[in-house]
């Protein structure tokens, strides 16, 4: 069977892994700029293909072939085929609005795989060094946590888990589960408990910990949690890389671990939340803090009047929020923007960092509709422009344009950077009804003298606007 000898096979694998690490880092680097991003994923993908192919040489590089070698080879091929096909199929058909939970799902799978590697290595009876066992245990713990935690995050965003489970003493129970997991983990790492039962208990507890930690976290905070689990999976992969003496896994896992941690911090910052706050307090939903009553009334407008106002504007900024994505109105909005452009109106899109369900999600949704990315500005770029804007069109966004965040120190969202839509000459807000935003905080913008409310579902309201603009001669 051996068409090349063991040392040559090992050399090929090790050399290829260097190339793979280079391709991954280059790929990620290119992915951090819009112009080169597509090439980036291609390079990283090429790295993955090379890594997978050369790894098939592993049985040849091994000192001796076990009698199970042929069965195992078949199992590897079947598993890759099945897992790959299922993921390909699901990844191709998932809607762009559901992207965050899909990332959570794939991420959890990676964590589960890292935990599985750890389990196989720990179940193997034999001589384990203390460093080896410690790393295997750490990777197993983090991987399991990420696996079950991401599963819960997926369930929540997909709407499979409707409510947040919170009860008194929950943190206390979490801490007990955490401590018992760590204690058993230490016993395993130290070589004091090596029975199958002990190892199985360890993994079971780690999985439970992921579930109990994630269940109380509200849906609004989920993106930060998903990003955190993404970083954790990277770290688990790196630890398993040390266990298996695999440089490609160490480098790729560590790069993702640190990049993911930074990304998590950026997201938490954009949401004006600290990471500890997200994990250990139950904001996100139902925090009913009513600040002082807002004076004035909400003034409604008809689509026909709003259309006229927009046609005769010089400059319009569209502020899309998650309500737009829910109504699947991004294509209609782009049609509206093009119609206005043809009439000589300058149209820009202003995206708040947390518009959509995770930072950058709204950009993806607009890109899907065909909006070129150079028309899309983020908060820092565009905030100074609102003063010179004739009409701000707010669609399905609420908290991210709430001036309360600037003015009212008692408000829970005080200090969160917002889009200054209230500073433009006119504001049109498309909204389903007179309800409150995700955080349950009343919005001062809706009561301003220069604000008009266009009630209705985003899709139909934008449609009415398009008809109104078309009818203006």
């Amino acid at each position: 069977m051996r068409f090349i000898d063991a040392s040559a096979a090992k050399w090929v694998i090790d050399t290829a892994y260097i190339l793979v690490a280079f391709l991954f880092v280059t790929g990620l680097k290119r992915m951090s700029s819009p112009a080169t991003a597509r090439g980036g994923i291609f390079w990283a993908g090429l790295g993955m293909v090379i890594a997978t192919l050369v790894t098939f040489l592993a049985p040849i590089a091994a000192p001796e072939l076990s009698e199970l070698a042929h069965t195992n080879m078949m199992l590897v091929i079947i598993a890759i085929g099945m897992g790959g096909a299922l993921a390909w199929w699901s990844g191709k058909r998932v809607a762009m609005t559901d992207m965050p939970q899909m990332i959570a799902l794939y991420n959890g799978m990676g964590g589960g795989a890292a935990a599985a590697i750890s389990a196989v290595e720990l179940y193997k009876t034999g001589t384990h060094g203390a460093a080896f066992s410690t790393l295997a245990v750490l990777g197993g713990l983090i991987g399991s946590l990420s696996f079950s935690g991401s599963g819960i995050a997926f369930g929540k965003l997909q709407g499979l888990i409707k409510r947040s489970f919170r009860f008194n003493g929950q943190q206390f129970i979490n801490i007990i589960v955490l401590i018992s997991t760590v204690v058993i983990g230490l016993l395993i790492a130290g070589g004091f408990a090596t029975s199958v039962a002990a190892i199985t208990t360890f993994f079971a507890l780690a999985l439970v910990l992921g579930i109990t930690m994630t269940l109380p976290i509200g849906g609004a905070d989920m993106p930060v949690v998903i990003s955190l689990y993404n970083a954790l999976t990277g770290l688990a992969v790196a630890f398993e890389g040390f266990v298996l003496d695999n440089a490609a896994m160490i480098i790729a896992g560590t790069v993702v671990g640190s990049a993911g941690t930074l990304l998590t911090q950026l997201m938490a910052k954009a949401m004006n939340r600290s990471l500890a706050n997200v994990l250990f307090s139950g904001f996100g939903e139902g925090a009913s803090t009513t600040s002082g009553p807002l004076t004035g009334s909400q003034k409604a407008i008809e689509a026909s009047d709003a259309g006229v106002m927009m046609v005769f504007a010089q400059k319009i900024i569209i502020v899309p929020g998650y309500g737009l994505a829910v109504a699947q109105a991004q294509h209609k909005v782009w049609e509206l923007a093009q119609l206005l452009q043809n009439r000589g109106v300058t149209v820009k899109f202003a995206i708040h960092p947390v518009a959509g369900r995770m930072p950058g999600h709204m950009n993806v949704l607009l890109a899907e509709a065909g909006v070129p990315y150079d028309l899309i500005a983020d908060l820092e770029e565009i905030n100074a422009e609102f003063e010179t804007t004739d009409v701000s069109l707010v669609i399905g966004a609420n908290d991210v344009v709430n001036p309360v965040a600037r003015n009212d120190k008692s408000s829970p969202i005080y200090g969160m950077p917002i889009l200054n839509a209230d500073q433009s000459r006119n504001v049109i807000v498309i909204k389903r009804g007179q309800g409150q935003g995700f955080s349950g905080i009343d919005n001062g913008l809706f009561y301003l003298d220069n604000t008009r409310m266009l009630y209705g579902d985003a899709q139909s309201a934008v449609n009415q606007l398009i008809q109104a603009i078309k009818s203006v001669e």
């Binding site: 994923i41 990283a44 195992n72 590897v76 993921a87 390909w88 191709k92 589960g112 999976t233």
Partner: protein
């Protein structure tokens, strides 16, 4: 192969690399980039393959099989969704050029 000290060097340098690569990313790419880094840790597939290749009991084979299955899902799924998202990012210049060709 890797001595302890060398392993720690690799870990440290890779951590700096990850931090540097991401530090200047614009917000519009946060979601695709998270998805992209999610794809990159799909390299766990390689480790899962090693684990299953070396499995010597039925229990190890079962866990190894699940590991490879999950890892392949991570790698392939991560690639497909990242590619789909990034494919849509085009500037108006590119769009106009495409329009003229039609």
């Amino acid at each position: 192969m890797l001595s302890g000290v060398v392993a720690i060097y690799i870990f440290m340098l890779a951590a700096f690399t990850g931090y540097e690569v991401i530090s200047r990313v614009p917000v519009i790419l946060h979601t695709p980039l998270m998805s992209g880094s999610n794809f990159v840790h799909g390299i766990v597939l390689v480790g899962a393959m090693f684990a299953l290749f070396n499995a010597s009991s039925l229990l190890e084979q079962i866990i190894g099989f699940v590991g490879v299955l999950l890892a392949a899902g991570n790698a392939v799924g991560g690639y497909v969704v990242t590619e789909r998202m990034l494919e849509m990012f085009k500037s108006s210049g590119v769009r106009k050029a495409h329009g003229e060709h039609k």
